[in-house]
Subunit: 435 residues, 2 copies
């Protein structure tokens, strides 16, 4: 088999056999194969597409290209949740210990933030001392003991995906549906999961602004996951305004602890959390249905038991677990400012993208991969779409360590807020389920 022939085949709209896909994944791990040939193939895939079977074969081949987790010794369902990313989307911080408390094994592999969507690893690291670089052996031991671990991806997991990803980034072939699908799922498959719940965000603060595009990815991921041997479901959720009441690292971690303690004021966040968790239980056979799963999780939240599970996880990963009893140990940056309502009325819009960009300007996120983050920077959301505000009332409270950052963020936020005299149509957080 010759890579050149496979490039020509895809170039002409041909369909790759499983053997050809396996060969391509081996080429991506082979130092001797020139990058320009892989790049030409990637662009041919971008232009001609791949069907679900081809995408599933690529997913499996990339998952098999490096080390894989093996949790077969742990006799419980292994389930993960993956979000396409959004503003204020710290759901994993609550969902992982909550699902573990409900009896699932949750090996949650996460990433760092880049641009306006935050990253789970950054939020976790706002806990003093907490380590997210865990060896495969540490993850396995921790899962056996407490059912949950949250950690970063190691380089020897799905290295073919790593190679393809770096090339895609440099050749304008990132936004290809089959390539996105195979990239996400190959890492999940290498994680040794039984089931996967996908949270595909839709709106200004999401990768997809339009529901139709998000739905295509959701469909591609669910179909491909099933063909790859992974139970899967996707939930389309709103990301037109930020999720919950906090955007940033320490402040999202604080909010997560409060929810685990039973404080359910962040209603949209909690609804999203419960639906995703309900599906995790349903997919893995721990609940009859997603609705039954939601009921189980509500009881656990009321009991506060999941907060204890988080405490154990923080201890296992070397962090200061006193934060669970005292979230104020997660300190916010010293300087603050407020975005105030310019007039009385109802908030009809609070734009997620602009809030996310403001959080980066405050220091909570990264503009470039090599930037460092300020854990204490961020925004607390006092009022959301649908809420009544008086003139001059605070809508957002900003935190930073520098007045210039506060000023830049406030400037960016000016067009984010819309106020109307009448209440806007109420909005849904759960838009659609793709099975």
């Amino acid at each position: 088999m010759r890579l050149l022939d496979l490039i020509a085949k895809k170039r002409d709209g041909g369909r790759h056999s499983p053997e050809e896909i396996a060969f391509l994944a081996r080429c991506a791990s082979d130092q001797g194969v020139p990058d320009y040939q892989l790049a030409a193939w990637l662009m041919a895939v971008f232009c001609r597409g791949m069907d679900f079977e081809e995408t599933a074969e690529l997913t499996k081949a990339m998952a098999a290209s490096g080390r894989r987790f093996d949790f077969s010794g742990i006799p419980a369902p292994k389930v993960d949740k993956h979000s396409t990313g959004g503003v204020g989307d710290g759901i994993s911080l609550v969902l992982a210990p909550l699902a573990a408390e409900a009896g699932l094994i949750v090996p949650m592999m996460s990433g760092r933030g880049l641009g306006h969507p935050g990253g789970t690893l950054d939020k976790l690291e706002s806990i003093p001392g907490l380590r997210v670089r865990l060896s495969m052996e540490e993850v396995t031991r921790q899962l056996s003991a407490i059912g949950v671990a949250m950690f970063g991806q190691s380089q020897d997991l799905a290295p073919a995906d790593g190679k393809f990803y770096r090339l895609r980034d440099a050749t304008a072939t990132v936004p290809s549906l089959p390539l996105i699908t195979a990239s996400i799922l190959s890492k999940k498959l290498a994680e040794g999961l039984d089931s996967l719940v996908l949270d595909v965000k839709v709106g200004s603060g999401a990768f997809f602004a339009k529901k139709a595009d998000a739905k295509k990815l959701a469909h591609s991921m669910v179909k491909t996951a099933k063909l790859s041997g992974l139970k899967a479901i996707a939930v389309l959720t709103d990301m037109d305004q930020p999720l919950g009441r906090a955007v940033g690292n320490a402040c999202e971690m604080r909010q997560a602890i409060e929810i685990l303690q039973g404080d359910l004021r962040a209603a949209d966040y909690v609804e999203c959390l419960l639906v995703l968790g309900g599906w995790m239980l349903a997919l893995s056979g721990k609940a009859r249905s997603a609705e039954a799963g939601v009921a189980q999780l509500e009881k656990i939240l009321e009991s506060g038991a999941a907060a204890a599970r988080l405490k154990k996880m923080i201890e296992f990963q070397g962090g200061d677990s006193r934060v669970v009893a005292d979230p104020d140990l997660l300190t916010m940056s010293p300087l603050t400012a407020e975005l105030k309502a310019p007039r009385a009325g109802f908030i009809s819009r609070l734009d997620a993208l602009l809030v996310g960009q403001a959080s980066v300007l405050l220091g909570a996120g990264r503009a470039k991969a090599e930037d460092s983050v300020d854990f204490g920077a961020g925004l607390m959301i006092e009022k959301k779409a649908g809420d009544r505000v008086e003139k001059g009332q605070a809508v957002l409270r900003l935190y930073a360590n520098d007045q210039a950052k506060l000023a830049a963020a406030l400037e960016r936020l000016k067009p984010a807020l819309e106020i109307t005299p009448r209440p806007p149509k109420s909005r849904k957080i759960i838009l659609e389920t793709i099975r």
Copy 2:
């Protein structure tokens, strides 16, 4: 301007501005630009295409990427002919001195053979001592003195095309109409021409087997050449059977000398030669029409004056010019065999591709670029489509320096010949003219 953005633009079917095309050609000459980005752009062009304006801009930018010939000091029209390649297509060997004799300046830059189509440089080098590596200064001096030079491409002519071509070859992006067009024309433009006549071959022995495909390239080349400031015309000619009566290096050179001496038995070859030459004269204003040009060239052929012009050219390029008076000095390989008619009848088909492949097996061509050629190897064609043959009569006479090569070529030739009881429909050599 960033190459990544230009890749994304073409990927999405966008149209490049002249400034963007110029940037892309500079990238191809820039060692610092990674090949994988150029490869991704080439595949995007393959998939999304370029219009004639973009192709003309690329042609001009690649022509400007290196040294260029400057014949502005020579007060006569500069004209070249380019063929897409075929079996027995040694027309340049006759046409270059003939057109020079008619008053044109003919800087004929040619290539070597690879696969079944022969290469003009190999045919020329069958003349002992003849040099085809000429410096720009040598070419200019020779054109001033005798109006004709035949030589190979130097690496500093259109180096951006060289870079793109090597990448295309390794990334399955060769058969892209705009890229083929720009590649051919950029070199012609750097040659300092006023006019160009294109011979686009159609049939089993050509790059295009189907007339519709050949016509598309012809149209693309003529349109792009005109937009690049070059007068141009394309003639579609038949390549379903080999052209003329010889396939090989020494034997095609012999045939060329014989035609220049007035031996016009190779009727299809001579017709093709005269039509292409007639257009060279018409385009450059040396004849009122192509037909008038043909009449001029016929007179010159009758006079034998063009043979003297060839003699001068051989002398200028250091070759043994006695071959013009005595073509037998171009010796054929010692071993011979015949392909005989298996029954009496009329030849309805003599397949060009198989004859071309047989010539490679005999040693006249190259299977790989690094192979050497046997100048004396080849085939003489005794009978062509439409001719009457008796059972056992020789149709082809093969020459090689090895019995095994003769046997392999005869085996390859078995399906090349078709004989029918009645005369086949007569075939045209000139299929269409694209202006």
